[in-house]
């Protein structure tokens, strides 16, 4: 914390600037007093409640649905099945066809004649109360004709495998390839491997996770004639509005979407949910307002999941430790359907596997695979944590193979600070940074030499509790995204952001942002930006968002894009306000525009101190409009849309010290230190908070969380009893710090911070655990590092294996698998299949 404060004072901005100040958040007032408007708080006159009858089976044909008893249930208004809605429900959109021949089976919001994952909607109850709706769910009788569930990706891609979607003829949705040699951004990968002294290959499992946002999803739809207003706990009201129009045929201008107070989504609310479509269809059909709020178990079972990749990765190097090539092949679990950006998540990661290292050659291949599970989609980091995990893990393995210090190996291969901007083998232009500086600072924070010494002592004394230190020197691409780049990747939309500034007569400022926040503190940070730019008090700025009628244009919040893209749009709008005000000021001050200077919110004529006109006064002047220049409109309000030309590349060094109890396999983080470079820090409090939260989720992937399905496709981690979101007692204190290398791609100089902690921490934690027990013969442990897996890896070899019920419903029938990677070059290309 002190470190962050120190970093804050190293800001380029002066002490009187808002940017860089640890402003307490404006948002808090309503949140700490319970005066919030969560979607589920909404009550409308005559509102009906929806509940969803869901498939208990993973794969089946629906042979009959009997809703008669449910319809008779007290308080039930009607019950609708997939048949009833088949002609109007369309398909949940997939905005990212990553290859031209990608197979998309279409995604009904409610199953018509076939279910493809446990939890898929099969009927909707509409009732007068939440209770009546819940009661009637029990009364819907559905007959299923079971089909074999497809659950394991590696089996699913074998010839003759059972198919999730018969009509596609395959379980492979797409095969995506990036080859640096072919793209002209690197050398020939196969040649690099052929020439290499050393090749290390591993198979890593990046397990399925659940975003597990705390606020359950909720949607309220109010029909008014042919207009519809939807309140939804969504990250993406703007995208949702467009998609709702496309899916349902309701004209876009007849739809208004409001994201009121929305709980943190972490990508989990970056979706067009089946239930949002269903709520809209039911409201349209009945002409009545409706509400649907999920339960937690519904949420874990049906809201999209994240990660779930089997990663085959090979690295080639010479004996001196210079990396020569990188080869990656992924199997990425799509789940049963393609949702909004399901196929794009691994593709987004494709460009990040080389990390911060100067690989001369790189090839990436990915198969998107259908299984009878809930679809995957964005979860904090979306593609980048997977890539970072794989490369940071294999760098440690290479170091072991070469007998080198893992940090030394990294240092030898990473981009030097004077080499920025640096174009990587994946074709990305990294903007700025200093990996050495961040690393040194992180080691200092950790107390590295002392811990290494303690590690040595524990090893020598054969202490049952061993200590390990793990690194992750990462970068990520943020600021999604340059629209042209997205276009080249076949993404269905742009990456720009929109902002408006409205100068009110009393001098107060309304900032409208299209980047819809859900806990990130936009109201505070945008106020800081505008206060500086317009020279108005922080308190005089109000930030409006999350309502398509108030903020009609936007691309919303995800991919650590808000400040970089949305914040820049705000600055651009402020510049336009100033430019417009300048004309009025010149008129009123009877001076030439060129002679005016604008500082501290005031226009003054150069060389005549004391004279001047504040921008807030100008706002009143144009409101009155009694006296303004002939050739301008009587307004200084302005809109701006910003489309970035490049991504931004935050980086950092994360160091984890881990204690491993070799008797029980229990792991405990002893100390965690990280230094992140996120460019300019607008609000150090918010930046620190984002890092902390990201660390918690990244550590949770390493140690606690995993969505486990049994052999029938039941999610056995169906409640918070089994899906282990860590509590305060399970997480350590974090020592965080920053270095600041301004991002050249935007005027703020910010790089984005929302995902950094989550992306960086997972491999640092796993590397630390391995470092603690490597001398006992352990070279991999499957995530999450449950005590049992750690214990098995130590005492039985392998990576600790599947968890007992994973992929099996035989209680105790599972066997321990030993699937640690072996150093065979073939394995990377799935030679075993």
């Amino acid at each position: 914390m002190t470190v962050t404060e120190d970093a804050a004072t190293t800001q380029v901005q002066g002490p009187d600037k808002e940017v860089g100040k640890a402003r307490k958040r404006k948002e808090d007032a309503r949140l700490i007093t319970g005066r919030t408007t969560w979607t589920d708080n909404m009550v409308l006159p005559g509102m009906l409640h929806l509940s969803v009858v869901r498939s208990p089976v993973a794969h089946a044909r629906i042979t009959a649905i009997d809703v008669s008893a449910a319809k008779e249930s007290p308080g039930v208004v009607t019950v609708l099945t997939g048949r009833d809605l088949a002609d109007e429900q369309g398909s949940i959109p997939c905005a990212w066809p990553v290859t031209p021949d990608m197979k998309n089976p279409g995604h009904p919001s409610i199953a018509v004649d076939r279910v493809n994952h446990v939890g898929e909607a099969v009927a909707v109850i509409v009732a007068r109360s939440r209770t009546a709706a819940a009661d009637a769910v029990e009364l819907v009788d559905v007959d299923y004709d079971l089909l074999p569930p497809v659950l394991d990706m590696e089996e699913a891609v074998r010839d003759g495998a059972d198919l999730v979607h018969d009509d596609l003829g395959t379980n492979t949705s797409y095969h995506f390839v990036f080859d640096a040699g072919e793209a002209g951004t690197g050398g020939d990968t196969e040649q690099a491997f052929a020439d290499a002294d050393v090749v290390v290959s591993r198979r890593f499992v990046n397990q399925r996770l659940i975003p597990a946002f705390m606020e359950p999803r909720s949607v309220v739809v109010q029909p008014q004639g042919d207009n519809y207003t939807m309140w939804s706990a969504t990250q993406i009201p703007h995208i949702l509005r467009v998609m709702l129009a496309m899916v349902t045929g309701i004209p876009e201008h007849k739809l208004r979407v409001i994201a009121p107070d929305v709980g943190g989504g972490f990508g989990g609310k970056l979706q067009v949910n089946p239930e949002e479509i269903l709520a809209l269809l039911v409201a349209r059909r009945l002409g009545k307002p409706v509400k649907w709020t999920e339960t937690r178990s519904e949420s874990l079972m049906t809201a999209h999941h994240g990660r779930d990749q089997v990663q085959f990765i090979d690295v080639a190097a010479d004996r001196e430790g210079n990396v020569k090539g990188l080869r990656v092949r992924l199997l990425a679990d799509m789940g049963a359907y393609l949702r909004l950006i399901t196929p794009g998540v691994p593709a987004l990661g494709a460009f990040m596997f080389p990390g911060i290292y100067k690989f001369p050659a790189y090839r990436f291949e990915c198969d998107g695979v259908f299984t009878n599970k809930v679809p995957t989609d964005a979860y904090r980091g979306a593609g980048r944590p997977e890539a970072t995990f794989a490369v940071e893990r294999i760098m440690d393995e290479l170091a072991v193979e070469l007998g080198m210090d893992p940090l030394e190996l990294r240092r030898k291969n990473w981009i030097q600070s004077q080499e920025f901007p640096f174009t990587t083998v994946a074709g990305l232009e990294y903007d700025s940074g200093d990996y050495d500086a961040a690393t040194q600072q992180a080691l200092d924070l950790l107390g590295y030499p002392e811990l290494r010494e303690e590690q040595r002592r524990r090893r020598e004394s054969n202490d049952p509790v061993q200590l390990g230190i793990g690194f992750s020197t990462f970068t990520e691409m943020c600021g999604l995204a340059p629209s042209r780049v997205l276009g080249s990747l076949s993404y269905g939309a742009g990456g720009w952001e929109s902002a408006s500034i409205r100068m009110l007569p009393t001098g107060k400022v309304e900032v409208v942002t299209g980047s819809t926040p859900h806990g990130q503190g936009h109201e505070t940070a945008w106020s800081q930006l505008v206060a500086d730019q317009l020279g108005v008090p922080f308190e005089d700025v109000e930030v409006l968002h999350g309502d398509t009628a108030v903020a009609p244009k936007g691309m919303d919040t995800y991919g650590s894009r808000s400040l970089v893209v949305g914040g820049t749009a705000v600055l651009k709008a402020a510049d336009k306000v100033i430019a417009k005000a300048r004309k009025v000021a010149a008129h009123l001050l009877e001076a030439s525009e060129d002679d005016l200077e604008f500082t501290g919110g005031k226009f003054s004529v150069r060389g005549t101190p004391g004279s001047g006109l504040g921008i807030q006064e100008i706002a009143l002047a144009v409101f009155a409009a009694h006296d303004y220049p002939e050739d301008v409109e009587p307004s200084i309000d302005a809109d701006a849309t910003f489309d970035p030309v490049n991504f931004s590349f935050p980086h950092g060094t994360h160091v984890c010290a881990m204690e491993v109890d070799t008797d029980t396999g229990f792991v405990k983080i002893r100390k965690y230190a990280c230094v992140d470079d996120v460019g300019t820090i607008v609000n150090p409090l918010i930046v620190e908070g984002q890092v902390h939260g990201g660390l918690a989720q990244g550590i949770a992937q390493a140690l606690y969380e995993e969505a486990v399905y049994d052999a029938d496709g039941n999610l056995t981690t169906g409640t918070f009893v089994d899906y282990l979101v860590p509590s305060a007692a399970d997480l350590p204190h974090f020592d965080t710090g920053n270095t600041v290398h301004v991002a050249p791609g935007n005027p703020i100089g910010a790089k984005g911070v929302g995902e950094a902690g989550c992306i960086a921490s997972t491999p640092a934690v796993v590397n630390a655990a391995l470092d603690a027990v490597r001398h006992l013969g352990v070279s991999d442990i499957r995530m999450p590092l449950t005590p049992e897996r750690v214990w098995r890896a130590i005492h039985q070899g392998g990576d600790g294996g599947d968890r007992a019920t994973a992929g099996s419903n035989a209680y105790g029938g599972a066997q321990t698998e030993t699937t640690a990677g072996v150093s065979t070059p073939q394995s990377a290309l799935g030679g075993d299949r």
Partner: protein, 168 residues
């Protein structure tokens, strides 16, 4: 239906409820106390934490009928009548102990309860004291700081009543 009467944030309410009505649903849906929220269905997340006769409980795991005759304090009832924030509320704001704020009402109510029993908790004691409340945003560190800061303030100004609102 069963008649229940309870004092919530200082106001007495009498209603007919079904026995199966959970306290949190009664608070939210009958009394409009929507500051208290529901985050799970297995009593794990703690978002619904309120004080029942002065003790923190998870209101999703208490039936409304069980609170008959009881005094309930929610997040909406802990600030002073003039709007002055409770020291724990204030500390959450000052220490950036919240982001999206969904877990915050439960976190604050649990923290107040903890500080009543342990006025000067260590880092570990705070962490264990709020183990029944899940937060997905903050990584907890600033929550821990907030609770400790509030502890300092509360011990310095012992006069701050815990449930000012409830005594209005």
């Amino acid at each position: 239906m069963t008649r229940v009467s309870m004092q919530v944030d200082g106001v007495t309410y009498t209603d007919e409820v079904e026995p199966r009505t959970l306290l949190v649903h009664h608070l939210r849906e009958a009394l409009g106390k929507v500051g208290t929220v529901v985050g799970c269905d297995t009593s794990n997340c703690g978002a619904c934490t309120v004080h029942l006769d002065g003790q923190a409980v998870k209101s999703c795991t208490v039936l409304a009928v069980q609170a008959d005759g009881a005094e309930v304090t929610t997040i909406e009832g802990i600030a002073a009548p003039d709007g002055t924030l409770h020291p724990v509320q204030k500390a959450f704001h000052e220490m950036h102990g919240l982001q999206c704020g969904y877990c915050t009402p439960g976190m604050i109510m649990a923290s107040i309860d903890l500080l009543k029993e342990n006025p000067d908790p260590s880092d570990t004691e705070v962490r264990e004291g709020i183990e029944g409340n899940l937060c997905r945003c903050t990584g907890y560190q600033n929550i821990v700081r907030a609770v400790q800061q509030a502890a300092g303030e509360l011990s310095g100004s012992a006069a701050t009543p815990e449930t000012t609102g409830a005594q209005a």
